[in-house]
Symmetry: C2
Amino acid sequence: MLARAGEQGRPETTVAVTRGARRACGFAVLGELPLPNGRRADLVALAPDGALRIIEVKSSRADLQADRKWTDYRDYCDRFYFAAPMELDTALFPAEAGLIVADAHGGMLAREAPPLRLAPASRRAMLVRFGSLAAERYCALAFGEETVWL
Amino acid sequence: MLARAGEQGRPETTVAVTRGARRACGFAVLGELPLPNGRRADLVALAPDGALRIIEVKSSRADLQADRKWTDYRDYCDRFYFAAPMELDTALFPAEAGLIVADAHGGMLAREAPPLRLAPASRRAMLVRFGSLAAERYCALAFGEETVWL
């Protein structure tokens, strides 16, 4: 999340790493996507072939250690990654997750994530959420008007 | 399409009807979405339950009569509609399509569209296209930066 007041995160680092990781993904990326299980993904990237990647941004060692639920994201993507600033020891991160090292200018894939098994119903739910949220955000910015129900 | 130079369309009417139909859809709507068959849909609406609607905008009788390929859209949505200005006779429109009557302020469903059979692979392809295009358009507007491939 971009703003985690009172938590172990470092807000400026979180913003910088999120920005760099977003740029590194290179395809369609949305921030703050609510998942069917009630959690919220920092970044979700949709590749042209339909592959879904979830990226959780960690700004510090404490931020990482406070996260006991990262495995909850793995049911909703084809690959799961952490994104972190360069100064964090990559050995801190679980081997079952991919790792993107990023600053505000971009990111590098430090470790590829293993492929996960995304159930067809979960994929469909994620594609619908991703498309709905992206189109609503785009329309709000582009047209700035409330929609009216038929 | 919003600009059809040299065609039978009336550009101001097309813009107005497109805007009204977009507002009438009330959920996530994208304009000018390229389809897997090479055509381009005027409007595609994604409902929260994942249903996909395609809407083709017609500004005049001549615009409608020039369209001999509207049935090509039916392989890529759950329901297909025309949208037209109020002054057009609704009897001109094929009974196999839904009809939205619209002006720049909004639209009304004049005739519900029959449900179509959307193949699972086509649904997945459409959801990926919809999500990718929406997120790319949103990111371009919100961040105004080029993405960099990993």
